[in-house]
């Protein structure tokens, strides 16, 4: 429990603060930090981009590793629970894309605001919710972050606005680009380009696959979305751009999802198993970070394995909770229709069935 609280507090303390040495170092001497080269981003309407080298501290590295591993294992547990029919409805998993949510969170502050579409479990975690609350929401229990009423696609947290299910309107994004540019809104538009829109490859769906250029008058960058450090630096750069009052900016993260579009999609009818295997073996984000850390003496293999063990335990405990927690009480079915309203009655299946609605 204490370890979990420590882990959570490390996550919540945010990347923006100066790291303090709270980590207890074992008998081995690790390096405190190391410098890494990261891929140069393709730029659109930008004179310069994010740096091509970055410093990773041991503490940050361990934190990113733990966060990515937690998201990975959480998504795999959700896969398992879905197949056992304990999770129902829609379930869109983000394993493979962990560097995106973790790297982004490392580049912004907890007070910044974030909204996303349905592939939202990773972001829900990086924005500060516990695995328990997320899994319990997936299983539709009262301990879920939305009290069981939202499900997979409708999770919210402080400064995190979900989780949205109805997407696909190209027109809307261009309208948003236009207004953001006109009003110079401090807004980072992010495309997690995982090469497929459901079962359609980007080549078949998009007349231009240079998504980072499609903001047109909005500057953009194409980022290696499998490298958590590249995502972090790009996000920091983009955030600085916005905070300096320069208006909106676009980030295309080139990433990959191992699962199909959702649990109803096996994910192999429109792409080959070889392709998936290749990404897993060459570009897995967790593996990339681990190799970097071990090779520069930022951490040992054993230490990272220990984190794996802790994460697995955390996920198991959360899954236990999510399976054992009771469903929300029927009396609360009508709650939270309006905000800040006196209580009123909600009609049920017929005029004699009534539910109370409390704000």
């Amino acid at each position: 429990m204490r370890k979990m609280l420590a882990a959570v507090s490390r996550v919540l303390s945010g990347a923006a603060q100066k790291p303090a040495s709270r980590v207890l170092v074992g008998s081995r001497n690790f390096a405190n930090d190391a410098t890494f080269e990261i891929k140069k981003c393709d730029l659109h309407r930008l004179e310069e981009g994010p740096p091509v080298t970055t410093v990773l501290t041991r503490e940050d590295g361990l934190r990113y590793y733990r966060m990515m591993q937690t998201v990975r294992r959480m998504e795999l547990k959700a896969d398992q629970l879905y197949k056992q029919k304990i999770i129902r409805g829609f379930c869109h998993l983000c394993d493979g894309q962990e560097a995106c949510c973790v790297g982004m969170e490392a580049g912004i502050n907890p007070t910044d605001h974030l909204i996303t579409a349905y592939r939202a479990h990773g972001f829900t975690f990086t924005r500060g919710l516990s695995v328990r609350e997320i899994l319990a929401e997936l299983t539709g229990r009262r301990g879920g972050c939305a009290k069981g009423k939202g499900g997979s696609m409708h999770m919210y947290a402080k400064n995190f606005y979900g989780g949205n299910g109805i997407v696909g309107a190209q027109g809307q994004i261009f309208e948003a680009y236009n207004m953001a540019a006109l009003w110079k809104l401090p807004c980072i538009f992010i495309c997690e380009n995982n090469r497929y829109g459901m079962g359609t490859s980007v080549e078949r769906a998009a007349a231009s696959t240079d998504y980072y250029k499609r903001g047109d008058f909005i500057p953009g960058m194409r980022v290696d979305g499998m490298d958590v450090l590249c995502v972090r630096e790009a996000t920091k750069f983009a955030a600085a751009h916005c905070r300096a009052g320069k208006g909106p900016i676009l980030m295309e993260l080139q990433t990959y999802r191992y699962h199909g579009h959702s649990m109803s999609d096996p994910g192999v009818s429109y792409r080959t198993r070889e392709e998936i295997q290749e990404v897993r073996s060459k570009s897995d984000p967790i593996m990339l970070l681990k190799d970097r850390m071990v090779n520069s003496n930022l951490a040992s293999v054993e230490e990272l394995k220990e984190i794996d063990v802790e994460v697995r335990k955390e996920i198991e405990d959360a899954a236990q909770f999510a399976t054992a927690d009771p469903e929300p009480p029927l009396e609360e079915l009508g709650y939270h229709i309006y905000s800040n309203e006196p209580p009123f009655e909600v009609r049920g299946a017929n005029q004699w069935i009534k539910f109370k609605s409390i704000s």
């Binding site: 409708h154 079915l333 909600v346 049920g348 539910f355």
Partner: protein, 249 residues
């Protein structure tokens, strides 16, 4: 995708499809069919469970059909395609996997079900029960249960939401003197509300022995948790309860 996504393009359905023939003074017709799953599925939560029968049924210029069984689906889609007007076909995802007896005449390639005509799925004398889409099956089930208690329900499958076949419903009410409507959508301004209003405006009103009763979805966005979702979709027991209340049993 489902009709929930149609809201991203609903301007085109209403303003470009439904109204064009009228706005052009009869010059330009729009022979298009919009079809897809509508209404609640299972565990797909708030943004993916809405019933659009009332939304599309509200609009002059559109025809709106809602099949229940396999022959409805075939006959109505063919009629919709052959119709020169914009037709919205509201299917149901949970019905796609359900098997039905497929009568001989329905197997013909020219089998059409006329748009604007309801079907009496089950004859009865004590009460008229009207529904569209999946709830028709629930009504048939409820009728079977009640038949054992000596209550004979007349179950009407609307098949078309707009133009509504109110005559079939009126004729039935004039025979049975009682009415229950059943739908999956929300109660306010819904299909049942329209049926009740029209009954009051027509000859059947004087034949009612009790106020008409509506069975609908619960008036909340669809929750995800199973126990809550089950209480937001009309069940067979809710229909039986409403029928008995209407008959004062």
């Amino acid at each position: 995708m489902t009709f929930n996504f149609s809201m991203q393009a609903i301007d085109q359905v209403i303003n470009s499809a439904a109204k064009t023939y009228y706005m052009s003074g009869g010059l330009q017709n729009v022979p298009i069919v919009f079809r897809g799953p509508n209404g609640a599925s299972a565990g797909v939560a708030a943004q993916h469970s809405q019933c659009f029968a009332a939304w599309y049924g509200h609009c002059p210029g559109l025809k709106v059909v809602s099949p229940w069984n396999a022959e409805d689906a075939k006959g109505l889609i063919k009629s919709a395609i052959r119709d020169n007007n914009p037709v919205v076909m509201l299917e149901n995802e949970l019905m796609y996997g359900v098997a039905f007896e497929f009568p001989q005449e329905a197997q013909s390639k020219d089998f059409l079900i006329p748009i604007g005509k309801a079907k009496i799925e089950r004859q009865g004398t004590h009460i008229t029960v009207v529904a569209h889409s999946r709830p028709v099956g629930h009504c048939v089930e409820a009728a079977a249960v009640l038949a054992k208690e000596g209550i004979e329900c007349e179950v009407i499958n609307m098949r078309t939401i707009r133009p509504m076949d109110i005559e079939t419903i009126e004729a039935s009410v004039m025979k049975t003197n009682h009415l229950v409507t059943v739908e999956g959508g929300w109660p306010q301004f819904g299909v049942g509300a329209e049926i009740c209003a029209r009954i009051m405006e027509g000859p059947a009103f004087n034949f009612l022995d009790a106020p008409a009763v509506r069975v609908t979805g619960t008036d909340v966005p669809m929750p995800y948790a199973k126990i809550l979702e089950d209480n937001c979709v009309p069940q067979v027991k809710d229909i039986i309860f409403a029928i008995k209340k209407t008959l004062n049993i």
